[in-house]
């Protein structure tokens, strides 16, 4: 009976230790964006295009003007040429827009468009919305970027 009580004690002690460790892990875990879909490639809202969006130099540097590449393909995989693109966006949780006015500045071939003038001035959840108009029609796509 006494040894059972000791096992119970040990078990309680271990459980308490586990709770402590979990507390440390929970309290120090980095906070993530509220379920934002951060995929860099997606089908546009009405299914006209497949858009992918990547930083031109591979990395995102907070506070610096930078260019990204928006690659547009048809659902069958053909590059979309001659698209007119406008960019808008902002930070939904801060209720403000973009600090700059990014533009599609160059067509680089194979459906790739340079989107220049992006600047992420703070960490957090950013949204970039592209309105795309091409031979196949007009469509929109929203990308989430979390810094």
């Amino acid at each position: 009976m006494a040894s059972l009580w000791r096992y119970l004690l040990a078990g309680l002690g271990l459980a308490a230790l586990l709770v402590g460790i979990l507390a440390i892990v929970y309290l120090t875990a980095p906070q993530t964006a509220p379920g934002a879909d951060t995929s860099r490639s997606k089908t546009t809202a009405n299914g006209l295009f497949v858009a992918s969006f990547q930083p031109e130099r591979g990395v995102i540097r907070q506070g610096e003007l930078q260019s990204w590449l928006l690659t547009l393909k048809t659902v069958k995989g053909a590059p979309v040429e001659g698209a007119a693109i406008t960019v808008s966006g902002g930070m939904p949780l801060h209720n403000h827009g973009l600090p700059t006015s990014p533009q599609a500045t160059d067509y680089l071939g194979e459906g790739r468009y340079r989107i220049d003038g992006l600047k992420f001035t703070m960490s957090g959840w950013w949204q970039l919305r592209f309105a795309i108009s091409a031979a196949a029609g007009s469509d929109t796509v929203v990308f989430n970027v979390v810094l």
Binding site: L27, G63, P99, G117
Partner: protein, 402 residues
């Protein structure tokens, strides 16, 4: 009874373990990363300014320094850049609004790290340090001069030094004594009567004055502070020694700054600024002219002949991306002002674009309460900080000025 004692032991032990989980480590990995990103040692080397090919020419900086402190660079010989940008006061003047020839409607900005700004003045109405330096020279409330008079003055007083840096001065013999497109009616008339080539000659000398002053100002950089020493120790795992260690109140303030109080949202990076413009609901000053901030500065920077797209820029227009991709319209620009650096802020009250708040306590109370803006929409949300939390934030801000 023994069982009860053992049970209380276990409970005490588990309580201790849980509390230890809350209290230690002092900062989470996420917090440590944010703190490291604020430390001065992450400030990159100053980039070349290709729009000013004299930016890193020592002789230009030396002439710029002379001009910065020269009261001859004003209408009546009583005001220089240094009248408001006082060298022993972080290059600001401790006044709610700058006073030069007249009283302006804005607080003098300090100059540490100014060459790293993409936009100048509280509202960003200039897009380069050299274009900024020209503006007070002709503002009737500041140095109140005119560009023709400045060109004559440079020739007479610093002709040889100027020519060694910038090349031969133009022939100014037929240039009116006083003329400027921004001056009095007589000065405007004199300017408009000048041939285009002569106006361009004067503008070129004027632009070079700005480029020399900018070359000097590039050397003004923020010094290391107690916060930076603490941050470096925290990143390296060393125990801060003596005065570098933070008090519990300063640690609480730092945690609030990068956490619950959301200060770091805008005051980020090693200069504690996102270099952007925000409406934070700061009230206007009753007896000053209407001030709408960034929304009215857009047209001014676009119209400035010394902006990056203008004829006086050196290098190519790849340096003009800030101006090219500038946000030109939108309700967010109404009463939006530049996020100031917080380095050294604790020792230079008053605060905000027109010196609205006389102490950091008032500043923190403002952000805690987050009143609505008189025009446009404040981006700040109420925080309901306790008195202890507000005091902790102020205590932390002081570590950026020690």
């Amino acid at each position: 009874m023994r069982r009860l004692a053992s049970l209380s032991c276990v409970l005490a032990l588990s309580a201790f373990v849980v509390l230890a989980g809350c209290g230690k480590p002092q900062f989470s990995d996420g917090e440590k990363k944010t703190i490291a990103s604020l430390a001065l040692n992450t400030l990159p080397a100053l980039k070349p300014d290709t729009t000013n090919r004299f930016a890193d020419v020592p002789a230009a900086a030396a002439l710029g320094s002379t001009l910065f402190f020269d009261q001859g660079m004003s209408r009546d010989g009583t005001v220089s850049c240094s009248t408001c940008h006082k060298i022993d006061r972080q290059f600001q003047d401790d006044l709610p609004q700058a006073v030069a020839i007249g009283r302006t409607n804005r607080r003098t900005m300090p100059l540490a790290g100014v060459a790293r700004d993409p936009w100048f003045f509280w509202d960003g109405r200039r897009d380069s340090l050299w274009a900024q330096a020209l503006t007070p020279l002709e503002n009737p409330l500041e140095q109140a001069g005119n560009r023709a008079a400045f060109a004559h003055y440079i020739k007479k007083r610093f002709g040889e030094r100027y020519e060694r840096i910038f090349g031969p001065l133009p022939d100014l013999s037929t240039v009116p004594t006083n003329a400027s497109p921004l001056g009095t009616d007589a000065e405007k008339a004199a300017w408009n009567a000048m041939p285009d080539s002569q106006a361009e000659d004067v503008n070129r000398v004027f632009a070079n004055i700005g480029k020399a002053i900018a070359a000097f100002e590039r050397s003004i950089e923020p010094p290391q502070t107690r916060f930076d020493r603490f941050a470096i120790d925290l990143a390296s795992g060393a125990k801060p020694q003596g005065d570098d260690a933070f008090s519990p109140e300063e640690i609480l303030g730092l945690k609030l700054f990068i956490g619950k109080a959301n200060c770091v949202t805008c005051h980020n990076g090693p200069r504690f600024t996102d270099n952007s413009f925000h409406n934070t609901g700061v009230p206007p000053v009753a007896d000053l002219p209407p001030d709408r901030g960034r929304i009215d500065a857009v047209a001014q920077v676009e119209a400035d002949p010394f902006n990056c797209f203008g004829a006086f820029r050196d290098g190519d227009d790849s340096a003009c991306r800030e101006l090219r991709f500038m946000v030109k319209t939108g309700p967010e620009l109404v009463r939006a002002y530049k996020t100031p650096s917080l380095r050294g802020a604790a020792t230079r009250p008053p605060y905000m674009h027109a010196g609205q708040f006389s102490s950091l306590d008032e500043v923190v109370a403002h952000y805690s309460k987050a009143p609505a803006s008189v025009e446009g929409t404040s981006e700040v949300h109420p925080l309901q900080l306790s008195e202890r939390e507000r005091a902790a934030l102020v205590a932390f801000l002081k570590t950026l000025a020690e």
